[in-house]
Amino acid sequence: MSNQRKRLTGEREDEDDEDAEGIGEWERAYVDDRSWEELQEDESGLLRPIDNSAIYHAQYRRRLRMLSAAAAGTRIQKGLIRYLYIVIDFSRAAAEMDFRPSRIAVMAKHIEAFIREFFDQNPLSQIGLVSIKNGVAHTLTDLGGSPETHIKALMGKLEALGDSSLQNALELVNEHLSQVPSYGHREVLILYSALCTCDPGDIMETIQKCKKSKLRCSVIGLSAEMFICKHLCQETGGLYSVAVDEVHLKDLLLEHAPPPPAIAEFAIANLIKMGFPQRAAEGSMAICSCHKEVKIGAGYMCPRCKARVCDLPTECTICGLTLVSSPHLARSYHHLFPIAPFDEVPAFSSLNDSRRTLGKSCFGCQQSLIGTGNKPGPCVTCRKCKHYFCLDCDIYIHESLHNCPGCESIHRPKSVSLMEE
């Protein structure tokens, strides 16, 4: 239906091409990419639905390949304990409306999602928030492990004012991060919506300082490529990308969630003292050490000094011990042993493939792999267990599950039966 509507707009567009005066903002996107031309008809003259899933999957595969290429096949060390500062540019440019409803709202929305995803993937890491406003950098939150506090602090301060200064932000973050323990990975992720930076001094010196203190700076631009940002990222080994639209912005942000490869200097094995606090009993009353409030139940007790904290992971405010829970550690494990990307099954060869005719359904979700018109749909296969999976399962396995159901069932047939139950 929506395709047909698009087609209608397209035809009207063609008609009033002569007097191009009347092109409204909403029509222009169609003029530019001529989306109606992508429509195709099948043999019977019906419109063929545009299959976007293949395109999305291709994008995902590219991303996956990029990540695995970085890993270069062999096991590499990853920085699992990350100290990340997110710098958000709340300067005048953030009020622009090219992202709906405004850049600032879109940024906030996706940072919120990113913070949750980040802690999900990096339970041992901590985040801090810094904003740039009126040419000055402010600390919104200090380093901490609780997503809720960050999100609350972020949402409270949504207004865009004045110039932007990259140097001020870098100086501030550098100062904050100079105190983190040496085993932690220092990172900054800058969401930059302005196109210039008004700095009090020489930004090149600041960049060199960041490089010296092993601060990995990544920038996501919201409007166009800036030389200084590119330079910063190149110097400090970070990633520089520019968002095309909202979806792309989200993708770019989430690319920063998995831990980056460890910097060589940090790659020495290190012992870290950690505490595994017990969850306090339901209904027990105590004053928590982080908010100084009386709370009933829901809290953890530091095993060393018995102080009460609300969230994990964190550092005990009394004795400074790193507090984590064992599931956190376990969840970080998969980054070290990622499952290899699945091979794509070429559509034509699969026709004569005898094994393919046997298993016509995805091993993950048991859905049929036969696409429209009785042709085999796109699918992938695991290199180890040779089972076939549909594209959705491919993404799910690599991004959320981190275990291949096929391989698992080969090694421990029992667990399969458990899963199937």
């Binding site: 191009a20 903002e25 222009r28 530019d32 409007s223 166009a224 030389f227 990308s241």
Partner: protein, 758 residues
Amino acid sequence: MIFKIEDVTVYFPYDNIYPEQYEYMVELKRTLDAKGHCLLEMPTGTGKTIALLSLITSYRLSRPDSPIKLVYCTRTVHEMEKTLAELKVLHDYQVLHLGTQAKILAIGLSSRKNLCVNTKVLAAENRDSVDAACRKRTASWVRALSTEKPNIELCDYFENYEKAAENALLPPGVYTLEDLRAFGKNRGWCPYFLARHMVQFANVIVYSYQYLLDPKVAGIISKELQKESVVVFDEAHNIDNVCIEALSVSVRRVTLEGANRNLNKINHEIDRFKANDAGRLLAEYNRLVEGLALRGDLSGGDQWLANPALPHDILKEAVPGNIRRAEHFVHVLRRLLQYLGVRLDTENVEKESPVSFVSSLNSQAGIEQKTLKFCYDRLQSLMLTLEITDTDEFLPIQTVCDFATLVGTYARGFSIIIEPYDERMPHIPDPILQLSCHDASLAIKPVFDRFQSVVITSGTLSPIDLYPRLLSFTPVVSRSFKMSMTRDCICPMVLTRGSDQLPVSTKFDMRSDPGVVRNYGKLLVEMVSIVPDGVVCFFVSYSYMDGIIATWNETGILKEIMQQKLVFIETQDVVETTLALDNYRRACDCGRGAVFFSVARGKVAEGIDFDRHYGRLVVMYGVPFQYTLSKILLARLEYLRDTFQIKEGDFLTFDALRQAAQCVGRVIRSKADYGMMIFADKRYSRHDKRSKLPGWILSHLRDAHLNLSTDMAIHIAREFLRKMAQPYDKTGTMGRKTLLTQEDLEKMAETAVQDMAY
């Protein structure tokens, strides 16, 4: 990589080659085979220079029996250095693959100011005084005198060079100006004279246009080049103007006064010589009776600038009797000066053909045409006889004699224009007498006649059929190459209306309209807020730029721009402009962002690159037509119409559009680069204007971008910048390959052979 083009093995120093570079080489090779001239247009940033150099040197290697010589002409010293640096890479590659037999001698030649190593000479501030300071130390009579008087200062480098005599040779290799200086310093030889001497042995010579086109310089530097040379004019889109300038002279009141002073001095010298050494003057007289043609033996090492007229127009006969004696000649010059002075006193603009000028000169001052013709040579001979070394002081009288000789020699293609004041400032009397040449083919004709192949190449030569007419030659190949791109990295737009839908233009009746000025301002305000780093704006003239910036300042538009980016302005002062450019680059580097206001036809528009982040957007405000009321331009247009049947309008548009293309072409210098170009004038949307833009711009100019208003342009710019910021694949997708490897080329050659077989 090494590959074959027909029967020539080409050595190319890089692993990959662009398809258009390959085509360029093929066309060039055919030109060389045909021993004809060619005209090749290829966009900047596609490696034109290296393609050219590697083909011609490879061609030379493949024909060892008839070695060709490459004469490469550049516009600036900077380009010369760049060319030599590329040649060095290429030469190293060839030597690596072919051994020492591939060794060539390549030199860059420039003026004394750039090549001198004598610190005392270099202390002089401009080119002419460096030349004079050098002559003071190296002239033959000075050196002869120094044997008697040891306190006369000589140049050690020159003395050593002279002592080495025939042994003073450069070993094979590629020498940039810096290398030449270092070599000279090391050996204690004068690099300038060494380079001049080596011109006849070198396989590749890189120098400025003037050394071939200006008859004064060409006569002494380039006369020994053999016919089997390939002459290349790089960045040659303005070659007709260079040719015209080489034959034009202008005389002002200051020139006349200076010339009078020079004459007094010469008189004084003549008197002194008469008292001390009357024999010398007599000897000169006798020599002149025998004829100027024999003057070669007089000078020895002391070469003067040669005759300003073209070689085949110089008469090989004796100097007329009335100027053979020194004092008579001085009298003639005095009368000439007086006459010119009278003519300059005019109240209104006068235009005259050389013929009528000469005849009125004859009737009023009694100087014949033949006498005029010999003025330059006679002056030269006199100055040598009088042993004058401080040539910079004698520039005014040389200019006058220059003028006299040209006016006496040419009856067609020139006109004399006398203007009592500058049109733009009618209250300040500043009379000027100009002898302006209208025919660009005059100066370049000897070059076409003399050399086997002449290659004229540039990034903007459109429309390509006009150049052969302007320069009156028949090219065997004339082609325009497109740029193969991995992505659409340029985005030209024609902006015809402001956001209020009012048309914008710099047409004379519209340009000062407040609405147009405001719309132009708003365009920039909007653009600086969405374009990162550097933005360059070109205006049609200094006066227009000054006016519009003043208005923007009053209305607060400039302030709005300054909030986003710093503003830098080109001025007529070179030092100021250099400083502004330097700071502009710094502002782009550190992320502050900057706007550069510049002028089409200015120094910045011609020679400075705004590549990468130094220029993400270039805005061309208006169509840069020449000042159409200028008398010189009108005279030239008339001549072009009568002689070459080129319509006035056609030529003006062609000239304006090539300037505009040149301006916007500054923004993209390589394929990895990207940039936007905005033509802000409603006249660009007309077909007759637009079609004269070079093909590589036109092919990216989409129909949808032909008639934009400011807000639509903003939208397109935003999308474009986002798209360009994404990572991309350099080698291009399967459909359009933009980097060819050796295998690709071999495959192409095979298919070509198969095509021929069937």
